[in-house]
Point group: C2
Chain length 411, copies 2
């Protein structure tokens, strides 16, 4: 059966994950102690450790606090704190965020760099590879254990002409291919806001929850859904576009082609305009927040109305997807009152109030790194088929067929 | 490792699934032909076949069209067309639907029976067990291969007091436990409308799609979402409540505790009331449909307005979850114009019109059996951990721990 090599591969991957997981929990361990704890055979365990040593994912060290005796001093295996296992990258229009994560799943390097807004794909790739290179040199991080790169991009990432979710837009495909060539590691790609949602579920405000809604409210309005522990991408890779909920079908046209979209109503520039219309000049988001905090009533009313609209959309989403946690990210989320209080009230009163539910509405926790960390989370969540599905290239390996294994090698 | 017995069990389950899958594709096969096709060892294959024979999931028959020769006539293995592998049950307020499915995943029995609306759990269980018994006798179906029972119930099925999705409401738990005792098979439970959504994705209007939205529009309004091939249940088991989208936060109170809910606006009784208010007396849904078909303008306008409201909600859902297919079920869905046309138009013009998407809006295909068939689909989709998660009882087997296998048996 064609399933078998795949199953063995997965089993090997699972064994490796068990070994790394035990080292994450316990720190340094001797081979025999590791063997006892994970319950693998000596042959299997030693082969896995030898492979991990070669990849510099783990290192060998002389055991401390050992009694002196005859023979070689015993050695212990421990995760390589300076080995880059995963790299997460967020590409914004005029900025790039990079995080480097070791086998202990600790962030060992962070980089934030401006990129000219008009930069093309080639320049952006150069900026990324340059920044990563510098980061590795500076922190003396080894690239040998690198297992994958996660890449977050703004907008739609899936090729409009293809139903295959591995088919990326030309922009996404070009950047992914260049990174793959440079780093010799697979690249997975997804939308920025969705990745931030995944990061918040993995390490942030919705940690430990399998069902969550994430709203990013800033110059634009986007979001992401996680259901049953999985990031929702949708059939065409456009899921999570909370900003393009039509709140008024007769409203003004939106750049998405729709009308009366939430984004057009509540994005920061729209709030500044609305304040001006009501006689209060506000320069930018910072001033908006400080005026609201100092009790300026017009500004507070504008924010309250916007939050009520966002709250209605989130209440509907909560009736549809039943999350445990709704997270608000972006500048307005800093205002507990009137922003979070108003959204909370809308969700409480409009979304199945009599149903046995407990939904937390809170501020997102991870800040500017969220999407880059989400790109790492995407790699950690992805395994086997899922990872292949997200890789913008034909999957290698075994096509499903009924050809017996002995004949399966021919092509 | 505690993972190991589980992994072996899953491997055995996977082998059995491969054997049954090959028999579904190919019909009757000799043991040696079956062995060649599935690539399993003689020992493994013969053990699996012997087990399947004992469970009456497959039967042995003398091979047809064989040349006469010496020795025993060769025998072939084929699926038992009269073996009940799975039973799907939908309990409505005053009706019960039952489908029985064999190992070929063909429906071998169907039953629809009225139940008094005031019947308690015990009477309902008696009605089900009686109806199944009759069906089995009538059709001469063997119960020996029974692997599981899927049960669809109206309303919320999860226990409000518990975060554990296996904890059912007392009503659901009581019925599930009684069926489990009677049939000696595990019972999985979910909400009716959600199960209908799953059935439509598995065999109906959205067959082959991994992302779909299902709206059930009748005396009540409910629904279900499928994302990435999985039914969305949500954190508290309330996902899919499309009918309780608030369309007007200042609108009339709804029984869910909210205001201006879609259900209150468009459910059939509300449409009849609206027609009466506009001077057209309509008795019931049948008359509503025939008046609309005959061109009665008031009735058509009432239906068009209701469809526009439903369409707005579905357009928002399409921006959030990005389905390939939106299915409408229930009486109004029979009207291509003005119902489906209006919903289609709303989705087309309000949900990311410039995005590279192709969303079908169509009528659901499975009719009254949908939820009972969905209960079967739930069993087919569930395996391993997922199945355990849906079973309303403590999962047997191995708790996750680092205790070596040799010590794992103690309790």
């Amino acid at each position: 059966m064609s399933e078998r090599p795949d199953a063995l591969q997965r089993l090997r991957g699972a064994h490796e994950a068990v070994v790394l997981g035990e080292l994450r929990r316990s720190g340094a361990l001797s081979r025999s102690e590791l063997m006892r704890r994970v319950g693998l055979s000596r042959t299997t365990l030693f082969a896995i450790v030898s492979d991990l040593l070669q990849r510099e994912a783990v290192v060998e060290q002389t055991a401390a606090a050992q009694q002196r005796g005859r023979g070689r001093p015993p050695t212990e295996i421990t995760l390589n704190p300076r080995g880059a296992e995963l790299i997460g990258i967020e590409l914004q229009r005029n900025r790039t965020h990079i995080v480097v994560v070791n086998s202990a799943h600790e962030i060992v390097g962070r980089h934030r760099a401006p990129v000219p807004g008009e930069a093309g794909p080639a320049e952006r790739v150069d900026a990324i590879t340059g920044a990563v290179g510098e980061l590795l040199r500076e922190r003396r991080i080894a690239l040998a254990p690198l297992q994958g790169i996660g890449l977050g991009l703004p907008g739609f990432v899936q090729d409009p002409a293809s139903a295959d979710p591995r088919s990326m837009t030309p922009f996404a495909a070009r950047i992914a291919a260049a990174l793959e060539r440079h780093f010799h590691a697979p690249v997975v790609v997804d939308n920025n806001a969705r990745l931030a949602a995944l990061a918040e579920v993995t390490w942030g405000a919705a940690r430990g929850h399998d069902n969550a809604v994430y709203l990013r409210w800033s110059d634009g309005v986007g979001g992401g859904l996680v259901t049953d522990g999985r990031l929702v991408r949708g059939a065409h890779g456009t899921a999570g576009e909370i900003g393009h909920t039509s709140c008024d079908p007769g409203g003004p046209p939106c750049h998405c082609g729709g009308r009366g979209c939430l984004e057009a109503e509540i994005r920061l520039p729209a709030l500044l305009t609305r304040c001006a219309e009501r006689g209060v000049r506000v320069r930018d988001a910072d001033e908006l927040l400080s005026l609201a905090e100092s009790g300026e009533e017009t500004v507070r009313t504008v924010l309250r109305e916007a939050a009520a609209l966002a709250g209605r959309v989130l209440a509907a989403l909560a009736a549809h997807t039943d999350p445990e946690c709704i997270m608000i990210d972006g500048e307005p989320a800093a205002l507990e009152d009137p922003v979070l209080t108003t959204i909370r009230e809308q969700v409480r009163t409009l979304s199945l109030p009599t149903a046995p539910r407990d939904i937390t509405v809170c501020r997102a926790a991870l800040g500017a790194d969220a999407a880059a960390r989400g790109a790492v989370a995407l790699l950690l969540h992805s395994h086997g088929q899922d990872l292949e599905r997200l890789m913008p290239r034909p999957a290698p390996g075994f096509a499903a067929s009924a050809v017996p294994a002995a004949e399966g090698g021919r092509r």
